[in-house]
């Protein structure tokens, strides 16, 4: 447990719960493509990424107990109030949705975790480091597939653009959780605006190379 004000603990709890819930649901959405991805190779990658995301969620839920004490809400199986982004509440409509979520939302969470690598809250810092090691592969997968789909013709590129634009607000909006209390208490090294700018810096070169319009 950290030394902090009630508002900082509340903000940290909200952040960890959001990370855990979003990774849990992203993993479930990825898992739905284990048998229906476009190729055998991408199906195996989808399975591995699903396993990673659910593993990340599994490592984050116990942090909620450290922050707020024992509760059925600290386990995904008994939790009743999830805080995942709305677009993750139902299965993806197609592989393009998978790629868009992988490219934008998965990356947004990684950018957020990068600000927690040197966190004053050790439990989060340790998990952030471990998660980010595995997320390197998710990023390679995302950028590879964005380039690939963009090269498959005008209609596929237009579909990808539409899916990306649908998920973009959820991805940028996620950084709202990086409130100033968390930065002032050194739990995160960067706040909402800096993280959003960093996220845009990460994705824009790929968007440009892929010939996609602005997001």
């Amino acid at each position: 447990m950290i030394e902090s004000t009630a508002s900082t603990t509340a903000a940290l709890t909200t952040l960890v719960a959001s990370l855990a819930d979003n990774k849990y649901f992203l993993g479930r959405r990825y898992a739905e493509w284990c048998t229906s991805a476009p190729s055998l190779e991408s199906a195996v990658a989808a399975a591995a990424m699903a396993q990673d995301e659910i593993g990340h969620a599994r490592s984050l839920y116990p942090v909620l107990e450290d922050l707020g004490g024992e509760s059925p809400e600290n386990e995904p199986e008994t939790r009743t109030t999830f805080s995942q982004s709305a677009f993750l509440s139902k299965p993806f409509d197609g592989w393009t949705d998978f790629v868009a979520a992988n490219f934008l939302f998965d990356t947004a969470m990684s950018v957020g975790l990068e600000a927690a690598v040197d966190s004053s809250y050790i439990a989060l810092a340790q998990r952030a480091r471990r998660i980010l090691e595995e997320e390197q592969l998710h990023w390679l997968h995302a950028e590879g597939w964005v380039r690939r789909l963009s090269s498959l013709g005008v209609s596929v590129r237009a579909d990808l653009q539409e899916r990306l634009q649908r998920i973009m607000p959820f991805s940028c909006g996620w950084f709202d959780l990086a409130v100033s209390d968390l930065v002032l208490s050194s739990i995160l090294t960067q706040g909402t605006d800096e993280l959003r700018a960093r996220f845009l810096e990460r994705i824009r070169p790929i968007v440009a190379v892929a010939g996609l319009g602005p997001l």
Partner: protein, 58 residues
């Protein structure tokens, strides 16, 4: 198509462990690492099949 080679120990030679189909090297890396994850490799290397030179062809 990419040929995948890996070794489990630094003193071992790189051995051919399989192939993956991918359009670019980023996806090839992802596919190779997720498909051939049965061991804790110390090194994994990919070569595009198009870059191979045929020394013998019967």
């Amino acid at each position: 198509m990419w040929e995948v080679f890996a070794r489990r120990k630094f003193e071992d030679p790189l051995c051919h462990i399989g192939t993956v189909a991918a359009d670019d090297e980023d996806l090839a890396q992802v596919y190779a690492r997720t498909i051939f994850n049965e061991f804790s490799w110390v090194e994994m290397v990919l070569y595009p099949r198009t870059g191979s030179i045929s020394a013998i062809r019967v």
